[in-house]
Structure formats: C-alpha cells, structure tokens
Amino acid sequence: MENHPTPLLQIHNLLLYFRTTHGVVQAVDHVDIALDYHHAVVILGESGCGKSSLARAILRLLPRNVAEYKGEVILEGNDVMKYEEEEFRQSIRWVAMSLVPQAAMNSLNPVIKVGDQVAEPSMVHLGTSKAEALDQAKSMFERVSVPIDFLQRYPFELSGGMRQRVALAMALVTMPHLIILDEPTSALDLLTQANIFNTLKVIKHEMGISFILITHDIATSSELADEVAVMYAGQIVEASDAPHFFTEPLHPYSQMLMASVPRLRSDQDPIFIHGQPPSLISPPTGCRFAERCPKVFERCKQEPPVVQSNGILVKCWLYC
C-alpha cells in the first residue's frame, strides 16, 4: 500500500444551517472529522441529529433554503470548499467522492435499466464512452454481487437488497477514493444486511476505498468501523477509534447509547435515555446533552470544549 503524507479527508468547523419559517436549523454545527486512506469512519447518531445534512455539506449537495454554509473540507490536501461549483462538479463530486444516499434503493430511476444507470456517472463525470462505461458497470455488478443479466432489468424487477447493491455499484463506478454511505442497510433484512456488509468489507480491502458510514445502528456500525464519530444535536460529541469506542466510550451520551443496545450474546439489560434531543432551532446554550445527562453538573451550563485524551476527542466537561 502506498504511503500518504496527509490524511484523505480533514473537515474543520463545517457548518450547515437551514432557513425555515420557524427559525434557523443548526443541522451541522462546527463539525470536525478526519479520515485516512483505506479507512472507514462511522457517523453515529439518532434521527434528526444532522447526519444526512453532514453528508450534503461534505458533497455540497445543498437545498435551496441554506442559511449558512462554511468551513473547510480538505480532500487530499486541497480545501475543496474554495472550489467554484463547476470545478467541484468536474473533479470532486462523484469523481473523488460519491454518495449512496439514504433510501437509495427507492431513488433509482424507475424507467431506466439499472445497467444504464450504473454506467451514467462515468459517462457524465469522466467522459467515458458508453460502451466502456457499460463495461465498467458490468465489472461493478460483479464487485457488488449482482448477477450480470440484471444489467438489462428495471429497478422494479429487483428486490430491495439488489437495488441497494445497484446504488452501491453506481457510487463505485467512477472509482472514487471515498464513498459516503447514508444508512445503507437500515431498510433491509438481517441476512441481506449481513451480505451487503460482507461486500463492503471486500470492497474496502481489495479496492482500498474509504468510507463514511452514516447510521443509527450501533451494532452493525461495528461491522465496518475503524473510527467512530458520535453526533448529537448537530455536533460531534466524541471521535474515537473503534477498539476504544466499542469497549469504553467516553461521552455520557455515547455510553448510554451503547448501553441501550439489546445484545444477543449477553444478559445485560439494556437501558434507555430519558427525554428527547433538543430542537436544532434554538438549541440550549451549554452542553446540548445536559438535559438528559445523568452526570450533569454546574459547568455543563457552559459550552464544553473538545478535549483530547489519548487521541480520543470528547466534548464534555467531565474530561477537562
């Protein structure tokens, strides 16, 4: 494997706010993430905490009602936030990083054969000829274990699991360095899910692709994670390596989240977290988890800094 002087991706202070009639939604609020080549980072968090918005912010796939969008997205040493849209489209989106969107299996075009849909990104973004692009589509189908004769089928002729694999093939076909997977298996059955994770592991090891895996499912996230970033109410509250995170998470929210997972192989009773995450329109000042935190104390009324302990980043006063 080649040696890389800089990490694949460094995100600093990324921020994406939306304008709504009720006020400004602070969906992504000063997020930092770093990711190495050939690695996978999991973004873990509950519904509405800003995971999909973070994916949009990284890939600059913005809705119309953006109130504020800024920060640094440094990909292979270049801050691509500074790129003009045209340059970003030509050299970054789909080319260097691509996305398998949330509910991708239901967002394929119903009237175009799946083979043609998978071929499209390389034709559009890399200017590949149609014949060559179809050839690539074919080899991607093999990669993701979709039978070759399915190239000629329409999405409705495929099961959910197969359509999800097709969406993955589409993200792979341009051979990007990084793929963002937004809840790739949440709607799928257990066995299908396990099969797809097997496929992702092969792709990661054999093609050397890095992943940002977005999910609320802690157990399956451990199937791919080298690193874990926990998101709560628009912010990253802990960034850790998988061995530490899955054995000893630091942030009280991470700890409770971990303890809430029902386990097949142990008799430990799962716990639950009282209450709900705060509104992102006027989030509380101070620690955003304070209201639900069993360890809350006086200082938590102020915004906690991000502190580092043994390479793990945690945004909590307990570690100051």
Partner: protein, 347 residues
C-alpha cells in the same frame, strides 16, 4: 412482579363473552392456518396465490408472551391480521377462548375486538393525523358504547398514566404530528390497552424508533403485560430484542413457522439452518466484527407465489440432504419437548 392489579383496571361495561367459552389455560389457538391471497389475472380468473401463511399452528396461554421473528414479507402481518379477524383464513382456524374467531358476528365480534388490542406496524401511519390524542383514545370507548363523557375521560386519563404520557393534560389536546415517535407509539399502545384486552398483538412496535427510545417502549409493553397478566404476541425482525420480552419464540420463513422454542434454547441451540443463519447474521457492537466475515447464506427468501418444492429453505441451505430436502416438505420434528422444527436434519 409487583402486586397484581384486579382484572378490570379500567372500568369497562363488560360486553358478555359468548356463552360456552371453556376455561382452559390456552387463550388463543391457531390450527392449520392457511392465508392465501388470490392473484387475479387481468380480466378474470385466478392466476395463482400468494401463500402468505401456510399451515401454521400454535397455542398461546393466558399471560404468556411469545415472539414471532422473520424477515420482510414472510407473512407475519398476514398471520396477525387473520388472528385479529381482519382476514379470513383460506383453511384452518383461529379460536379465542374456545370460540372460532371466523364464526363470530355482531355482538360477539364486538366482544372479541374489545378483548384483543392491536399495536400496528408503523406508528406514523397508525394515528389519524387530524384527531387529538383525546379523540383518538375516546373513539374505541364510544364504539364500546360508553356515552358518558366524564367516564370516558376518566378512563383515558388512567390509560395515559399507564403508558406514562404525563402530564396528561398537556397531551390530551395534542395532534400526532406534535409528538415524538416514542410518544406517538405510547398513544398507539394506550389505544390498544383502553378497552382492557386480554391479548395484545404488537406488530414491529419499535422498529421505527430510535435505539435510545426502543428499549423504553419495550420495557413499557413488558411491564403492562406482566402487570395485567396479558397474553402477548410480539412480532419483529429484530432477534436481539426478543429475549427481553417473551418466553417463547417462533421463527417464520416463507409463510411457515420453521422453529418453535423457548428463547434460551433457541439462542443457545438453534436447530433450523435458517435460524442458525439469523443468529450468525446478528451483530452485537464489537470492534472485532470489522475484521470478520459473517457466514450467511446468499440469496433471498423465495416468492410466495411459487415457493420452492420440498423445504422452502433448501435453495439457500448448506446442509440440505440430496433427494430429500428439495423433494418433500419436512414435517414438524420435536427433538426436545419444548423445541420443534421443520427440518429433515432432525428426522
């Protein structure tokens, strides 16, 4: 368990049970149940059947909680809806306290509906969007003929406290969209509980909820079940939640119950190759997972229109016995008294 609460927690004018119901331990009995949906040809005639439930039998005792686990489309909801009397069986029957559910009509059917609470799949679609919580909970009482609004309100208050929707006054006027997913699911549960049923059927009650809330709702259901000695059918695709909830578990594959066991038996000693696959596909959070492959059969569950001959799992089974499994459907084998399976390996 805390002190048993008298049978009637909520003051419901009792609709009398149909006469002749025997007082056995078994409350619900499903016998050779088949639920097939007709596939109509364009024009006329029947082109085939979706065999959503195919020869399913089991007994449920008073106060017992069972779980039915299976993947999408295996027939779980069809089975439940037939138990609830919403679908007619193609063959076989369901009896509740000794009475055939399919034969009930008029007042008897109304009585049955009051005895069975239903927590349906998808809380977001379960609640009528233009009704307040109070109205949603009043509806079943009005149907039961409780016309005194003061009395209704009292019962609504009681049930809301049971599902921990308090302060009650705050929630009464709210509409579903003003509630979090977990709160909506509490309303659905309250609605299922309000007529003081003996049996609760919960179809994927937590699959749409966040992990941190899921356990809370399951605990709530479990405590209601134990407190009122309810019989309970919990339907799920999530094996890891089952053991916190029920005594027995049935595994469903392609319209059939392929394994029935006590929870611990099933987890420690799964018999059917499909159950074994389900167990090895379930992960617990563990960083070692990232460096291992999961041994799972490839492929997908079969079409229920033309299911495979013989054992329905045989095309995906790595232990299939040649000239047997693909030819003849396995009958139920019972290697241990409380543990049975539809698999030729145990012949």
């Amino acid at each position: 368990m805390d002190n048993p609460i008298p049978n009637s927690v909520m003051d419901i004018p009792s609709v009398n049970p149909p006469t002749g119901g025997e007082d056995s331990e078994v409350i619900l009995s499903v016998n050779g149940l088949h639920v097939w949906f007709e596939l109509r040809r364009f024009g006329f005639g029947v082109a085939g059947y979706v065999r959503a439930v195919d020869d399913v039998s089991f007994d449920l005792k008073k106060g017992e909680a069972i779980a039915i686990v299976g993947e999408s489309g295996c027939g779980k909801s069809s089975l439940m809806k037939t138990i609830l009397g919403l679908y007619k069986p193609t063959k076989g029957d369901v009896t509740f306290e000794g009475k055939s559910v399919q034969q009930l009509s008029g007042r008897d059917l109304q009585w049955y509906r009051s005895q069975v609470g239903y927590v349906q799949q998808d809380p977001y679609g379960a609640l009528p969007p233009f009704m307040s919580v109070e109205r949603i909970l009043a509806e079943p009482l009005i149907i039961s003929g409780i016309h005194n609004s003061e009395k209704r309100r009292e019962q609504i208050r009681k049930v809301m406290e049971e599902v921990k929707l308090y302060p009650v006054e705050d929630f009464l006027p709210k509409f579903p969209h003003m509630l979090s997913g977990g709160q909506q699911q509490r309303v659905v549960i309250a609605r299922a509980m309000i007529r003081n049923p003996k049996l609760i059927v919960a179809d994927e009650p937590v699959s749409m909820l966040d992990a941190s809330v899921r356990v809370e709702i399951l605990r709530l259901l479990r405590s209601l079940q134990q407190r009122h000695n309810l019989s309970f059918i919990y339907i799920t695709h999530d094996l890891s939640t089952v053991k916190y909830f029920s005594e027995r578990i049935f595994v469903m594959y392609a319209g059939k119950l392929v394994e029935k066991a006590k929870i611990n038996e099933l987890i420690q000693n799964p018999l059917h190759p499909y159950t074994q696959a389900l167990l090895s596909a379930s992960s617990d959070p563990d960083y070692h997972n990232a460096t291992k492959f999961r041994e799972v059969p490839a492929g997908e569950p079969p079409s229920l229109v033309k299911p495979p001959a013989g054992c329905r799992f045989h095309p995906r089974c790595n232990r299939a016995i040649a000239d047997l499994c693909e030819v003849e459907a396995p009958p139920e084998f019972t290697p241990q008294p409380t543990h049975s399976t539809l698999c030729w390996l145990y012949r």
